[in-house]
Structure formats: C-alpha cells, structure tokens
C-alpha cells in the first residue's frame, strides 16, 4: 500500500479467487487478488490477455457470466461485505453505487433503443422521476460527455454514432446515477489513437469532477501510467506488483513487470531494448549503410489510386519508392487506406489507376488475377494481421510453410522440402516438433511465427507486413519485432510495414508515410518525422500516443 490515508477505503478486495467451469473442467482465472481503492482514486489494473484483469473487474461488479464463480475471498464496498450480494441488494448497487464501462461500446449499447432512452432507463432504475424528467436529465448527461448536437443525438441509435461517440454515451449511462466507483474495462481498445485520447481525457475529467473512484483495466501500460496515480500489474490471475507509474517504469521489481515494461514500446525505445538481455536475439553485425543512390529502385509506385465498385475512393494518387533492404512504415487510422495500399502493392487486388514498378519491371499492368503465375510472385510476400485467421485451419504448420515452396519454387514433397521447411522454422524460432500441429493447437505467437516463416520461405525481396503484431500481447510483440528485425538484416529484405502503432513504426522503419483517408499527409525519415511533425494531423497522432514520462535523470 502506498501513502497512509486514514480514511476508510471505498473498495477492499481480499484474496479474491474466481473459477470458471468449462468443458475441460474448472479453470481458476483469478488466484488470490487483494487490492484497495480510496474514494476518488484512479487505479490502473494492467495485464496481458489471460491475466485475469477483466475477470477481477467483473467479479467486483458481480457481472461474471454464468460459468464464473467467486470461490474465495472478500469484496468490501464502503465497509460492507458484498461478496455474496444478490437480488435487490445487487440491483441497488449496480448503477447507483458502481458502474462499468465496457470494451466494445457499440455492442454494449442496445441496438434498437435510442441513446436518450437508454440513458433515461439507467436513471429511472434508481430514481423516482417521470420519463420526461429522466429525458431532460439524459440530455444534460449527453452535454456532460461533450457530444456535439446533443438534442439531436438523443434520438439517435448506436449504429448511427461512431465508436468514440458510443463510448461517450456509455460513459453517460455509467455516470447517470452518480456511482462512487467506475470500472472501465479496456474502454478505448479498438478506437483510433486520437479518439482514444479524447475519450480517456473525458473519462478522467468526469471522474475527477464528480469524485468517482475509477479502476482502469487495460493491457496498455502507457495508458495506465498516463492517467492513474497507482498501477497494479497482474499475471496469470495473480497480482505481481503495485506501484506509482514512475516507480513501476524505472524500478520495476518483479521479473514479469520488468519484462512487460521493457516490451512496451516508448518514444525512445529501440528494438534491442524490448526484450531482457537473456532473451535477446543476437543481431548479425551488419553496418547499416544507406544504399548508394545509383542502385535501381526496388519498388516504384506512381500515382496509384483505388476506387471501389460502390464508387468510394480507398486510395488516391499514392506514390512512393523503396530501395532494396529499406524499411518503410505506412501509418494511419482506420479507413486511411493503408491496407488497401499494401494489397495493391502485393498484387492481391488491382489498382484503378497508376503504375507499380518492381525492380524496374511494371507489375501494375499484370491483373491481380494472373499475378500468381508471375516470376515476381515469390519476390513480394506478405505477413497478415491476425495470426488466428492467417493460417488455413486444415493445414499443419508444416503444410503452411511448405505451401509457397511447392507452388512458387516448384519443390516436390520429400526430404529436401522437409529440410527446407525445418530451416525456415529454425530461422523464425519455431520448435520443429510444432510443425505437425494445426493452427488451433498453437499459441498466438507461434501462429505469428508460422506466418512469417511462410512469407520468408521463398526468400522474397519485399515483405509487406500488415499490422503483424496488432493482435499480439506486448511481450509477444517484442519478440516478434526482434525476430523480424533480425530476418531483415540477414536477408537484406525490404519491409513495407503497415501499422497504426507509431512507436512500433518508429523503431522498425527508416522512413514513414502517414496516410489519412487515402491521401499521403506527410512522409520522411522516421525519427525526424515523429520528433518534429510538419502537419497538424501527424502532430495530433504523435501527441495522442500515451507515453511514459522520461526517466528522471
């Protein structure tokens, strides 16, 4: 515990254990968590997937689904034991005393009820008001969460609002009866980085203004550090460390925290720093010289645009060049056209206009439909975003890696193929005994490795990486990024790195291109671009990334 407040804590959790009954028997998701929260305090609850952080939140608010049960421990709220509360007690707690804000705001709102009605529903659940009074109150709440044009939004349905707006409505619902405890479960995950900042600022201010204690559950250490006075770290159902953000970042005690802090990319971190010394992949000593200017361009994209069948423009007038071995980042928020661009360059979809030259040869003219027969197919490969659906569920890891070798290198099944696949597996650090497994038998990180092994099997010259780590936990991301960096140096690969994560792009890429609604906003050398953005939009993007304050000297 920090400090020495004499006031009674708002919430005390003692040795909480939560068990889920699943088809494979009982699974203990939370294994003895103790924490306490003062009134008005904002606490960060940080952990990777499977750490039990969300389950802890749901257990406190008694919103676990049917399969989950609190098996042990004590939850005290305002000095009262609510561990086994039920029925009417629970209903008077919910909303009035504690409320939750959920991860996916659009799904968390009733799709067929107007947002005004939903806020009014929440108000009427605890207060004796007429519908009209409740509606008026709802309107003032919409104003409080700073929704533009609140009178009109009262009658809007969730699908008519953006994700960020839905989350504001969700906040309005949660604070409607002035609860003294708010639990926000990954409130900004899935939102664009600029929206994320606006929503988090709003949430923090409202909580401060109204004196609500808040538990911010998140996987993002930086986010927790930026907004919380105190952060607890969870791993596999246990609480491993608790500290003020600065202490946590600069003097992490527990080995897991140390790993997590290292793996979380910051504005200054380098790829090499992401993994603790012991696990660092030794880099091949290559002196990184910028390629001489006389060498031909590897990729020359000239004024490419993409107009979809329904008339919408995905990408307009996009031009870029790349030299062999260079790494270029493509950054943008959702809808910026970065995925469309990467697929056009990969020749998986056709451009509507423009020209793409690869190694001096025009490849934009070959229809995407026929590109699989091109000699250059093996030279341009791609790594996909979600490792879960980037592997054919009916292929083993071996089959996945062997596929391009069979098709593009004309290899035959046999010892030679096996040898080659095993080499690839070794290079990406995938244990050979996993080669016979199917995707559902592999972890997220292992699947990502298979996807990378498949992409490098034919020794391509250009590798397009479409958010390769977006679906991974930071500690896994750290290892995968290191791996990619190593492969790039070994093979002199060119990377086109598509990502929404500025910190990652800054580490991975020599140059960066910022895209917005299909148009290039800014481009330049990565470090310079992020250190000194030239356009408002880039500056907004850079500012929105939650950073940890630099170490006190």
């Amino acid at each position: 515990m920090i400090g020495s407040e004499s006031t009674q804590p708002l919430l005390e959790v003692e040795n909480l254990k939560v068990t889920f009954s699943t088809r494979r028997g009982l699974v203990e998701a939370v294994r003895g968590v103790s924490l306490s929260l003062q009134p008005g305090e904002m606490l960060g609850l940080v952990g990777e997937s499977g750490s039990g952080k969300s389950v802890t939140g749901f257990a406190i608010t008694h919103l676990l689904d049917r399969a989950g049960h609190i098996t042990e421990g004590l939850i005290r709220f305002k000095g009262q034991d609510i561990t086994r509360a039920g029925g009417a007690d629970l209903r008077s707690l919910h909303g009035a005393a504690m409320a939750m804000i959920f991860q996916n705001p659009r799904a968390a709102l009733n799709p067929i009820r107007t947002v005004g009605q939903q806020i009014a529903d929440a108000i009427l659940a605890h207060r004796r008001l007429s519908r009209a009074e409740a509606q008026a109150e709802a309107l003032s709440l919409l104003k409080a969460v700073q929704i533009r044009d609140p009178e009109r939004r009262m009658g809007a349905y969730p699908h008519e609002l953006s994700g960020g707006m839905c989350q504001r409505v969700m906040i309005a619902v949660a604070i409607s009866c002035n609860p003294s405890l708010l639990i926000a479960d990954e409130p900004t995950t899935g939102l664009d980085v600029t929206t994320q900042k606006v929503v988090m600022d709003l949430l923090a201010r409202i909580a401060a203004d109204r004196g609500m204690a808040t538990i911010l559950i998140t996987h993002d250490l930086g986010l927790a550090a930026r907004y919380c006075a105190r952060v607890v770290v969870m791993e596999q159902g246990r609480l491993v460390e608790e500290a003020e953000p600065l202490t946590l970042f600069h003097r992490p005690q527990h080995p897991y925290t140390r790993r997590l802090v290292a793996a979380s990319p910051t504005a200054t971190s380098r790829i090499e720093d992401l993994v603790p010394d012991g696990e660092r992949i030794p880099l091949v000593a290559v002196t990184e010289l910028p390629p001489p200017h006389g060498t031909p361009l590897l990729l020359d994209v000239k004024a490419v645009s993409k107009r979809f069948d329904d008339g919408t423009v995905g990408v307009a007038d996009f031009s870029m060049t790349m030299r062999g071995g260079e790494s270029v980042g493509l950054v943008g928020e959702s809808g910026s056209g970065k995925s469309t661009t990467s697929r056009m360059i990969c020749r998986l979809i056709d451009a509507s206009a423009g020209e793409i030259l690869f190694d001096g040869q025009s490849i934009g003219q070959i229809p995407a439909r026929d590109f699989h027969r091109s000699e250059l197919r093996r030279d341009i490969q791609i790594v996909f975003q979600d490792p879960n659906d980037s592997l054919n569920p009916r292929y083993t890891a071996f089959d996945c890696i062997a596929h391009p070798l069979l098709r593009l290198m004309n290899m035959r099944s046999g010892d030679k193929l096996r040898q080659r696949v095993e080499e690839c597996a070794d290079r990406v650090g995938l244990p050979r005994e996993l080669l016979s497994r199917f995707p559902h038998q592999l972890s997220g990180g292992q699947k990502a490795r298979v996807g990378i092994a498949r992409a490098i099997a034919c020794k391509p010259r250009l590798l397009v990486l479409d958010e390769p780590t977006a679906a991974l936990d930071v500690s896994v991301q750290a290892v995968v990024l290191q791996l990619l960096n190593k492969l790039r140096r070994e093979d002199n690969l060119a990377f086109l790195f598509v990502s929404h994560d500025l910190n990652v792009v800054r580490m991975m890429c020599d140059r960066t291109i910022v895209l917005r609604t299909g148009v290039i906003v800014e481009q330049g050398e990565s470090r310079a671009l992020f250190a000194n953005p030239q356009t408002d939009y880039t500056r907004e993007l850079v500012d929105a990334v939650p950073h940890i304050a630099p170490a006190p000297a």
Binding site: L109, A125, H126
Partner: protein
C-alpha cells in the same frame, strides 16, 4: 414522423426489388403451362366438350401459334387482367374458383400461425431463461420431435384420438356441416362472419371444425419458431448490451422484455416468413387430410383429373401470397429494427 416515412420508403423499395422475382414467378408458371401435359387452348374453351374447330379458333385467338416470347406477353396480359383460364372440372373461370376458396385456406393458415406464435414464443423464452432446466429440455425435445412428424400423419392421428377415440371433435370433413346455415359472407372467414352475424352456435361449430386442422398445421411449425426464439433469446441474454443493462441495475422485467426479448424477436420475424411458406405448402396436405374446401384441395382435385389451369393458377396464387407476406415481414422488421431502415 420520419420513421413512418422511412418505413414506407423501405416498403416501396422492397416491393420494387421483389418485382424481378415476381416476374420470374410468372415466367415459371408460364413455362409450367407449356410443359404440362395437355393443350392450353382447352383451358380457355367453353368446356371439355368443345369441338376441334372451336379449339383451333381459340388457339389462334390466344396466339398459341405464335413464338414463345409473344405467347409470354399474351400470358402476362391475361394474368394482368385476372384471366387465369377456365377449369374443366368446375366449368368456371379459375380466378373465380380461387377467389371463392381462398378465404377457407387463409382462415386455416392464419389461425394456425396465430396458435403457433402464441405457443412458440413463450416456450422459447422460458427455455432460454433457464437453460439446462427441465423446461428447457422439454422444449428442446418437443422441438426435435415436432419437425419430424409429417403433417399428414399428425393430422390423421389427431383425428383418430379426438374424433374416433374421444368423440370430442366433429366429423373431420370440411369447414362446416353442409346442412348448417351459413352467415352472410363479409370477410369470408367463417369464425369472423359468424361472430359478426351474432350466431354463437354457428361460431362454435365452425371453430370446432377448424380446431384440428389448425392444430395439425400449428404443431408442425411451433418447433422451428420455438427453436429460433430460444436460440436468439439466448444470444440476446448473453449479449454485451444486456450486461450493460444489468450493470446499471435495470429491473428484471426491463432487462428481459425491453432489452433481451425485443432484440431476440428480430430473427423470429424473419423466420416467421419462412415458416409461412412451409405452411402454405403444408396447406396442401392438411386440406387433403381434412377435406378442407380451400385452394389447395381445389388444385389437387384438378391435378388428379388432369385439369391444369387450376394448378397453374394455384401455383401463381401461392407465390404471389408469399411475395406479399415477405414484403409484410420486411416492413415489420423495418419497424422493429431501426438499423434496417438505413440499408
């Protein structure tokens, strides 16, 4: 209000988009006529005994000597004027025959649909509220069995039990005793006409007659309706927005009805359209089992004596009704789901 306008707009748009299907239906029934054994000219002749010359004249009049596209145009024109040909069996215009018999079929089908909905939705909701309970298992067993029993078997077994064994039901033939005095026809639905005429005895007789066939048909469709209600209610109850509703402490009733059920009913509306289609099909079987004087048994009788104009008219009528029902379902859905009006 804007919503009504949006709904009307949607209905109009859906109608326009169902026109190609309707046209396809017409082409299909036209082709059916061409393929069906028998001479179309005979349909339009005065009767089965029309002379060869008369038929030849009609053949030329109808343009049956012209190429197919022309004939199709003529057919469309005829259908447009409500001319569906003539039945050899009854000697009347098919359109008139169908019009006389349609209320009987609709009365049966709609009563069955009502019974099915009133039974299935509560059953599905009950089962979903207590998954794994005895009620749930019972409903699931009933659903599994319900879809397996063909209507013609369940109908006959119901007759055996309620007519032969218990003597509770009346003689299972027709809508009403042939000697009974019929009420003045206003809606064509006997149970409504009797009520309007204030004849309660007559109403009871008609209702008793209607009970078994309607029940037979309802039994067949309760299962799919209850099943979809249960499934969508389970999804609804497990959804994020119901969790939100719980997290702010809404009352049980509000959570279950306003939040869960109103969302869960959306797929039920969609399925109800499909169920109605199965019921129009099952009508043929049920009307045969209970000698119900509706359009289906009319078409069936005609089919067995190779009188094809009624069959063709019947198929067209069924398809048209189904298109209309789909339109209705769509409008209902649009009202129930604000998201639908956007698309």
């Amino acid at each position: 209000m804007g919503t009504i306008g949006a709904t009307l707009l949607r209905a109009g748009r859906r109608f326009v988009s169902s026109l190609p299907a309707l046209f396809g239906v017409l082409v299909f029934t036209f082709l059916l006529m061409r393929v069906l054994p028998g001479d179309p000219a005979v349909f339009f002749a005065s009767g089965p005994n029309a002379g060869k010359e008369e038929i030849e004249v009609i053949r030329r009049q109808l343009g049956l000597d012209k190429p197919l596209p022309n004939q199709l145009a003529i057919y469309l024109y005829d259908v447009g004027r409500g001319n569906l040909g003539r039945s050899m069996m009854t000697g009347q215009a098919v359109a008139k025959d169908l019009k006389e018999r349609l209320p009987a079929s609709l009365e049966l089908t709609l009563t069955a649909l009502l019974i099915a909905l009133v039974t299935a939705v509560p059953l599905g909701v009950l089962a979903a509220l207590r998954p794994g309970s005895l009620v749930d298992h019972g409903v699931r067993l009933f659903c599994s069995l319900g879809v397996c029993v063909p209507t013609f078997v369940s109908g006959l077994l119901l007759i055996y039990v309620f007519y032969y064994l218990l003597g509770f039901a009346p003689d299972p033939t027709g809508r009403i005793d042939i000697f009974a005095t019929l009420p003045p026809s206003r809606t064509g639905f006997l149970i409504i006409d009797f009520l309007l005429a204030g004849d309660l005895d007559g109403w009871w007789a008609a209702a008793r007659q209607l009970m078994l066939p309607a029940l037979t048909m309802a039994l067949f469709v309760i299962a799919p309706l209850a099943r979809i209600t249960r499934a969508s209610m389970l999804v609804s109850l497990g959804s994020d927005f119901v969790r939100t509703a719980r997290s702010v402490g809404l009352s049980w009733w509000r959570i279950v009805v306003t939040y869960a059920l109103r969302n869960a009913i959306l797929p039920v509306i969609t399925i109800a359209g499909i169920v109605f289609s199965t019921m129009l099909g099952a009508n043929v079987l049920v009307e045969k089992v209970f000698s119900w004087p509706g359009v289906a048994s009319y078409a069936l009788d005609a089919l067995l004596v190779s009188d094809y104009a009624p069959v063709q008219g019947f198929v067209l009528l069924m398809a048209t009704i189904f298109v209309i029902v789909n339109l209705l379902v769509d409008v209902l859905y649009g009202i129930a789901d604000p998201r639908a009006t956007v698309a």
